[in-house]
């Protein structure tokens, strides 16, 4: 039976593994990662100079934390702010129509001076409106957007600011995200592995290639004047990626800063994770294909790196998913017997690919022991990424294409979603 796995058959059914997946996720990533490491080390003195420039200018930095019912996280957030190496911080917390005691908690912190400014909207308006209200009253030269349940390493604010002094024309810096509750459930552990690959490694690579296009809402920094220029955040879900694209369109440079580390809380049940990923994936259609369709147009505003960043995103996110579905169905119809050999074969290749990527993660990880301790979960990774995530993504794409479901997501209040839909926002 195994003799059926000759090169020709393998290529017929799995050409994308060897033509696309391995070159993209192993070879290109490896080379770029290495290049970026070497470059970073060889330009150490420029980084040091940038840090000096930051410290001598010591600009006021607004840490902007919009949220709905996030009062319970505020104490930890404040502690995390107090322990920052960078001190010139203005902490603004915005309450988006919370229905719990968030306002009470935040007001008391504000009175004690531990929150510089607490703004409260009594009607829930969605995350974008809360962030914009905070932006309206922030005084910092830079604005760091943070989720209330994120916890920052003590040098994270300092690190995320340095790229503004290292490079010219930086319009946004994305922070590095690590999962902080990876022990809570298998779901969380798998996301821990995913974040290692798709954020820690992949964003270094995308940033190096100049096609990094999503600064997570959990932790990102922006010059205040750039945010003002783009009018802040638009109606979500997916507002963080949308904001990054708006900044890209103004020809600013978008940088990922691997050393600015934020530990984030991820969903611990499959149900919650599925909901989150459906939301994330729908915004690919909503923003990259619909709202920002001008990126694809070869007119006078055409910008190759913006085009390429969208292309990469759509190709690996959407088109390959379509292929995947096509081959799945085809193989079941044409040669279901073959699946018995093909599946283990393909699965082994993906476990190997995941292991290779895992090694990259180890190479760049600060806490290598923590990463190593999850090595036994690697064999599950292809199920997680290759099947579970693909199915969720495909469902999201279909329902957004056909039913515009992102506009019905209760994550955002209906009154704004409806208006956003009417105006193609």
């Amino acid at each position: 039976m195994w003799q059926r796995l000759d090169w020709e058959t393998v290529m017929r059914w799995g050409w994308y593994i060897f033509i696309l997946d391995i070159p993209r996720f192993f070879i290109l990533e490896g080379i770029t990662l290495l290049y970026s490491r070497v470059k970073r080390m060889s330009t150490r003195s420029s980084w040091d100079k940038a840090a000096d420039a930051l410290w001598s200018e010591n600009p006021l930095v607004t840490v902007l934390v919009p949220g709905h019912n996030e009062g319970k996280h505020l104490y930890k957030l404040i502690q995390s702010m107090k322990s920052q190496t960078y001190k010139n911080i203005e902490l603004i917390v915005v309450d988006d129509g919370s229905t719990d005691n968030t306002a009470l908690i935040a007001r008391s912190f504000e009175r004690r001076g531990e929150i510089d400014r607490f703004l409260s909207a009594t009607e829930r308006g969605g995350k974008a409106s809360a962030a914009n209200l905070g932006l309206r009253y922030s005084k910092g030269t830079y604005v760091v957007h943070l989720d209330a349940d994120s916890s920052l390493d003590s040098d994270a604010i300092e690190k995320i600011l340095i790229p503004f002094y290292r490079y010219q024309n930086v319009g946004a810096v994305g922070g590095n995200l690590m999962v902080r509750n990876e022990e809570q459930s298998l779901t969380a552990t798998m996301q821990f592995l995913e974040y290692l690959q798709s954020i820690n490694v992949s964003r270094i690579v995308l940033s190096q290639l100049g096609i990094y296009k999503l600064i997570s809402g959990a932790f990102g920094a922006f010059p205040k004047n750039v945010l003002d220029r783009v009018g802040g955040w638009d109606v979500g879900p997916g507002l963080d990626g949308d904001l990054t694209v708006k900044i890209r369109k103004l020809n600013y440079r978008i940088v990922f800063e691997e050393e600015a580390i934020c530990k984030t809380h991820v969903p611990i049940t499959w149900r919650a994770l599925t909901k989150q990923r459906l939301r994330w994936s729908r915004s690919l259609v909503r923003f990259r294909i619909r709202k920002h369709k001008d990126i694809w147009m070869p007119d006078k505003h055409f910008n190759f790196s913006n085009f390429f960043s969208f292309f990469e995103n759509i190709f690996f996110g959407l088109i390959l998913d379509a292929f995947w579905v096509y081959y799945m169905i085809k193989i079941i119809l044409v040669d279901p017997q073959f699946l018995l050999i093909w599946f283990p074969f393909k699965y082994s290749i993906y476990v190997m690919l995941a292991s290779g990527q895992f090694l990259y993660s180890i190479a760049i990880a600060k806490n290598k022991y923590q990463v190593w301790s999850k090595v036994l979960y690697l064999p599950l990774y292809p199920i997680y990424m290759g099947y579970y995530m693909r199915i969720v993504r495909t469902i999201a794409y279909i329902d957004e294409f056909l039913f515009f479901d992102s506009y019905k997501d209760p994550w955002n209040p209906n009154k704004t979603s409806q208006k956003a839909r009417e105006n193609n926002m």
């Binding site: 409260s120 209200l133 507002l239």
Partner: protein, 327 residues
């Protein structure tokens, strides 16, 4: 000139004008009832208070009436004059008041010789007087809203015992409370009032203050949220000529609830040294009488009651046992 006595329905009625003018109390034995025949509310009040403060039971229990003809003139200065006497009569027609008059006169006849206050403390004297009056008049001790009173509420007759408003407030409430505690008065709830913690005044000015500098020159603005583009700012951000236009997406805001809503308020302190911006404006209370600035939770909360003499109170009151009981 002497005030004249006339007889109506078999009662000797003394019409008081000269006495009011000069604030002299006439001989109580010369007439059964007194009717005020003077138009000046201030002088009338002075005179009525003189009667109430008297130590002579024949005087402080004397049936005293005002004339309706003067009511409009009195009400310019004091709407509560009738609380200090037995009310109004019209055209000297006292027929309806006869039972009250007889009851009072009988009481005076029976008890006048027993009312010797020489060994009474001030407070016991006040209580006895109060019981005598409200017992003979079969009335309740009712608080009235009065802007001249320190707290806004007064018991006009009882407060008349005292020379200054502060004593009037403090001692009258103390006495009522004490007598109520002894079971001689029952009470029913009328109102709750908040009064200055330093001078007990009820004349208070409430306004929002800056939490930083306590200044009260504040500008309040409404926060507006434009649904379509998620811009949020204060009202003035949106004002363009005579329209409301979003500064972010330039579209016009037309319908509240459809295009935009108002999710909050924001205050600006206009104190040039402060200029603080804030949302939660605490309320500051300023006492108009003593100039004290205080927070609402510093105010003293008082309940206002109406009192009525209990059967036990009647027993004790008639037989003047306050001295032995109150000590």
């Amino acid at each position: 000139m002497k005030d004249s006595v006339i007889e109506i329905h078999g009662k000797k009625v003394l019409l008081l004008e000269h006495a009011v003018e000069h604030d002299v109390l006439p001989d109580p034995d010369a007439s059964d009832i007194w009717v005020i025949n003077h138009a000046d509310g201030d002088l009338v009040r002075r005179f009525l208070r003189h009667i109430i403060r008297s130590k002579n039971v024949k005087i402080y229990l004397k049936p005293v009436f005002l004339q309706k003809e003067f009511k409009d003139l009195y009400s310019i200065k004091d709407k509560h004059l009738k609380e200090l006497c037995d009310g109004y009569v019209k055209g000297l027609d006292i027929i309806e008041k006869i039972p009250l008059i007889e009851h009072a006169l009988k009481f005076i006849d029976k008890y006048a010789h027993k009312r010797n206050f020489s060994d009474f403390t001030d407070n016991n004297f006040y209580i006895q007087k109060t019981f005598d009056y409200y017992y003979t008049r079969k009335k309740r001790i009712t608080p009235v809203l009065n802007r001249q009173a320190l707290t806004g509420y007064s018991y006009p007759r009882i407060e008349s015992y005292f020379a200054n408003t502060r004593d009037a407030f403090v001692t009258s409430r103390m006495l009522l409370q004490e007598v109520y505690t002894n079971g001689w008065l029952s009470r029913s709830y009328v109102d709750t009032s908040h009064i200055c913690h330093s001078c007990s005044s009820g004349f208070l000015n409430y306004r929002e203050v800056c939490p930083k500098c306590s200044g009260h020159n504040l500008k309040a603005s409404t926060i507006i949220h434009h649904f379509r583009c998620a811009y949020v700012g204060v009202e003035k951000d949106f004002i363009y000529k005579d329209k409301m236009v979003c500064p972010k997406c330039s579209s016009e805001l037309k319908n509240l609830g459809v295009d935009y809503d108002k999710p909050g308020k924001l205050f600006n302190c206009k104190n040039k040294k402060c200029l603080h911006e804030f949302q939660d404006a605490p309320v500051g209370v300023h006492c108009v009488d003593c100039d004290t600035e205080q927070a609402p939770h510093d105010l003293v909360v008082r309940k206002i009651y109406e009192y009525e003499i209990t059967p036990q109170g009647i027993q004790v009151g008639l037989h003047m046992r306050y001295g032995t009981i109150l000590g």
